[in-house]
């Protein structure tokens, strides 16, 4: 049921967007929250009517995003991340333990309606795995004992306060300079430490001067593609009458990646300042932060920071809306993100046209990653030359590296681009046991063997030369206790789950690969199945509508090719 006060709230939310249909995702979320974490067909219809979208569209959205519960869930929704970093760090054992303790399987609800247990994909908590999300709360660094205590508390009706800590380190002191002290979240503290000096300088410059500085600094996009931000801005049409939108991509979902949340959670004003600088450069009056819905508390921190900055008169005419995603990896792709922000399913658009020409509501739009935008205050304050002094030629600036898996101190570490992988792994406390393989740029980049990773430097070009990609800088470390076929299976299960379903090679290719690896692991496989996997991967690469096809075909191909013997053993062991 949608109550009268909620209708007013929904209308107010819808009024904040240039097109009220953009409020579909937040509206469905708000209605679900008012109705015991359940989204009924009646409520979907009510929201559709209120926002003027068709019933099919609204239900299409409700059934697309994983955070909507179209089936009833228990009072406590226990969500256990079992993606690759979590699996390496004990997530599967936690899930099994929860199943045993609750007497239900993943996907089921206890008869008393108290618990629903779900196995979920990456929660952006890779350095602090195993992680359990209960309703909106993250419980990180979980052990069997901590899980028992958590379940006991929940049975008593108490959702305990989460005390989450993680390792971090900063060599550059640009992006994580304020990490460590929670009081730095406040604008007073941020300004005391020199914050908003970059924005002040930017305000004294003409937009084109900011653009030139960012172009000169060569800030390669930190979301994964590594495309220079200044060049992207340069694609905006000149003499354009339509509004220009700025979107900050905070939909951090690439497994192995948990870097943007370090900035947003601990230094939100750094991002707000970066957004204000970028908005000035591209003449945007409206900016959006599209943040994954699971980071609910972080979205709140950002909203507080924006409020503070606005109250302090720092934002001038700029309006920043924090928009929560609702559970879809695909929305990290910039055109899928734009679709989602327009209140639609997270299906990528055909390119061209690129968002700079035709993006949100068909208007020129720039989408930049959190970390990219967080580099801007430094560039404004110290100049592009200072930025370029950090890192190596063509790969300038600081980079956040998230290290997860088999290391002693998983966490996020800020190093100049071009830093040896070894140095970063040492910062993360060194590898636990013997290094077998490492994924250096998030799960969608090709895996490297220990030998290949030995002398790798962590920048865009060096990684490309080594046959992989720097991606988001999410480093997943595997020691020699790891068997590769199950890792490949869990990897492809993730992509099959997250495929938007729009184009054939991704939608069906992912499940085809999954079925073949499953067949091999079940002992029924044949050698031809390995060839089929490789054929699928080879053919899918470059043939999908968006990069997601490559995102699973490249890593799976690398896992199979580089650890072929392990896959072949599955056949020969069962002739």
């Amino acid at each position: 049921m949608v109550s009268a006060p909620l209708i007013e709230k929904l209308k107010k939310t819808a009024g904040g967007y240039p097109d009220q249909r953009s409020a579909l995702l937040p509206a469905l979320d708000m209605v679900q929250r008012e109705n015991g974490n359940h989204l009924s067909k009646e409520d979907i219809a009510a929201v559709a009517g209120l926002l003027g979208v068709t019933l099919g569209k609204a239900y299409g959205v409700a059934s697309y995003y994983t955070l909507y519960n179209t089936a009833k869930v228990g009072r406590y929704h226990i969500q256990v991340d079992t993606n690759i970093p979590a699996t390496l760090m004990g997530g599967q054992a936690i899930l099994t333990h929860c199943e045993d303790m609750l007497g239900i399987r993943a996907g089921e609800t206890t008869p008393d309606g108290l618990f629903t247990l779900s196995e979920v994909e990456d929660l952006g908590s890779c350095g602090t795995c195993p992680v359990i999300q209960v309703n909106d709360v993250y419980y990180e660094n979980m052990t069997i004992e901590k899980t028992d205590a958590l379940l006991e508390s929940l049975k008593k009706g108490i959702l305990p306060e989460a005390r989450n800590e993680s390792h971090f380190g900063s060599e550059c002191k640009v992006l994580l300079k304020n990490r460590g002290d929670i009081s730095n979240r406040s604008i007073v503290q941020y300004r005391k430490r020199g914050g908003y000096a970059g924005l002040e300088k930017a305000k004294a410059l003409k937009p084109v001067e900011i653009l030139d500085a960012v172009k000169h600094a060569i800030v390669r996009g930190r979301g994964g593609a590594g495309f220079p931000a200044g060049m992207k801005w340069g694609f905006l049409p000149q003499d354009n009458a339509a509004p220009v939108y700025l979107i900050c991509n905070a939909d951090e979902g690439e497994p192995g990646t948990f870097k943007d949340r370090q900035i947003m959670e601990y230094d939100p004003h750094l991002l707000v300042e970066g957004i204000a600088i970028a908005a000035r450069a591209i003449n945007a009056k409206k900016a959006f932060i599209y943040i994954r819905g699971e980071f609910r508390w972080i979205a709140g921190i950002l909203e507080d920071a924006i409020h503070e900055a606005r109250t302090a008169g720092l934002l001038d005419v700029l309006d920043i809306i924090v928009h929560r995603g609702q559970g879809s990896y695909e929305c990290g792709e910039e055109t899928a993100l734009i679709e989602s922000l327009e209140g639609k399913r997270g299906c990528p658009r055909l390119k061209p046209p690129f968002p700079a020409l035709k993006g949100l509501y068909g208007c020129p739009t720039i989408v930049n990653n959190v970390e990219t935008l967080a580099c801007l205050p430094y560039i404004m304050e110290h100049g592009p030359e200072a930025f370029k002094k950090i890192g190596v030629v063509g790969n300038a600036g600081p980079k956040l590296f998230g290290v997860s898996g088999h290391v002693n101190k998983p966490g996020v570490f800020e190093y100049p681009l071009g830093t040896p992988l070894k140095t970063i792994l040492q910062a993360a406390g060194g590898v636990k046991g013997n290094l077998k393989a490492v994924i250096v740029g998030g799960l969608s980049t090709p895996i490297l063997t220990a030998a290949e990773a030995e002398t790798l430097n962590m920048d865009y070009d060096a990684c490309l030369k080594a046959g992989t990609m720097l991606g988001s800088g999410g480093i997943i470390v595997m020691n020699d206790t790891v068997a590769m076929p199950p890792i490949a299976l869990r990897t492809i299960k993730f992509y099959a789950h997250e495929s938007c379903g729009q184009c054939t090679p991704c939608r069906e290719g992912s499940v085809a690969v999954e079925s073949l690896i499953e067949k091999l692991l079940s002992g029924c496989g044949e050698t031809a199945d390995i060839d089929r996997i490789l054929h699928l991967c080879d053919t899918i690469i470059g043939s999908t509508l968006c990069p997601t096809g490559d995102a699973f075909a490249m890593p799976i191909r690398a896992m199979v090719r580089k650890f072929l013997a392990e896959f072949e053993t599955l056949v020969t062991a069962n002739p």
Binding site: C503, T504, S515, R532, L536
Partner: protein, 351 residues
């Protein structure tokens, strides 16, 4: 402009896509999600080709032609990619052609035939799921390839806004409203989705199992119902002298293939035994008796004459029908004005 396809030079027009140029020149490129009416979608990825100078493979439905463009639709890489897509589509559904309505008129079947795919490599088909709830449209999810043509047609062409995509990934399916059976949805059964479906996923319900596509003779005509004048194609079983189904004519500027529920489905009157085949004259007792046209027309003419004589010509009015042709309508008003001598003439399309 000139483009080269598979080593041969062809004429192409500015603004055309590679696929359109190839089709116009009789070069077959398999394609499933593209339909001239719903436009390029780039979803099925089967129309993939090689274009010299472009990185990787390109979908021919989305790339505009350029002067001197060199296109290859048959290279090994292209064939490999096309085959994989069609194989995956065949693998992910229950594409059993034997009893399928679309056998012989199926674009997926054509693609499989041209690419030489006898049977699918994988077994990824969903459970059988049919929707027989609607009056005229039958849906079979396992034959759906998620091309989105029906959805584009429903939302952008006829703007009935019933169909959409629900769920995601491999579970993606076409839903009616909030995933209810079509018969319980707001669908008005215009059948545009049937018209656009490239496979047997959405078909006309009534003719199922009545005739194979190749046994039917197509006869073009104008819809007899209203004044719009939609062009339609009757699919006629000559041997049984029956209309089996009706589809819209895509290149008709009037309706662009669209029809309404009456135009597409309400043709049973043609073969109805209750249909009048001769004039009937009501006897004094109220019963009807068959009469010849001469007798009937003479009777009508004399009765009209009586009324005009007694009450004047304005005591008579004529209401013309949209079911007849313009010429017949013209004659009717002429008759009313010059023979009856009244301007009391109107037309049902005005009501």
């Amino acid at each position: 402009m000139k483009v080269t396809i598979n080593g041969k030079e062809y004429e192409a027009r500015q603004g055309q896509t590679v696929l359109q140029a190839a089709r116009d020149n009789g070069v077959y490129i398999p394609s499933l999600c593209y339909h001239p009416k719903t436009g390029p979608a780039g979803k099925c990825r089967v129309c993939i080709v090689e274009i010299e100078g472009a990185r990787g493979l390109q979908t021919s439905c989305t790339v505009p032609v350029k002067e001197g463009m060199i296109i290859n639709t048959e290279s090994e890489n292209v064939r490999k990619a096309q085959r994989l897509v069609v194989d995956l589509l065949l693998s992910s559904g229950r594409h059993d052609c034997l009893a399928c309505e679309q056998n012989g008129a199926c674009e997926l079947q054509d693609a499989a035939y041209r690419l030489g795919i006898e049977r699918p490599t994988f077994t990824l088909a969903p459970k059988e799921q049919t929707d027989n709830s609607a009056e005229f449209v039958f849906r079979e999810h396992a034959k759906c390839i998620q091309c989105g043509r029906c959805i584009a047609g429903c939302n952008a062409t006829v703007v009935n806004e019933v169909l959409d995509f629900g769920f995601r990934g491999h579970d993606t399916k076409v839903i009616c409203d909030d995933d209810v059976p079509m018969g319980s949805s707001t669908c008005v059964q215009c059948g545009e989705c049937v018209q656009l479906c490239p496979t047997g996923a959405i078909v006309d319900k009534l003719p199922r199992g009545k005739a194979r596509t190749w046994q039917l003779e197509k006869v073009e005509t104008v819809c007899p119902y209203c004044g719009v004048g939609c062009r339609q194609e009757l699919h006629v079983d000559r041997a049984a002298n029956r209309i089996v189904r009706i589809s819209g004519v895509e290149d008709s500027p009037v309706n662009e293939g669209m029809l309404c529920v009456k135009g597409r489905y309400a043709f049973d009157f043609v073969q109805s035994p209750e249909r009048l085949t001769a004039p009937l004259i009501r006897e004094d007792g109220g019963t009807f008796r068959k009469a010849s046209w001469d007798e009937a027309l003479t009777l009508v003419a004399s009765r009209f004459g009586d009324v005009v004589k007694k009450h004047g010509p304005d005591a008579v009015a004529g209401l013309a029908s949209a079911k007849v042709t313009n010429e017949e309508n013209f004659l009717f008003q002429k008759f009313m004005r010059t023979r009856i001598i009244t301007n009391n003439i109107d037309h049902c399309a005005r009501l």
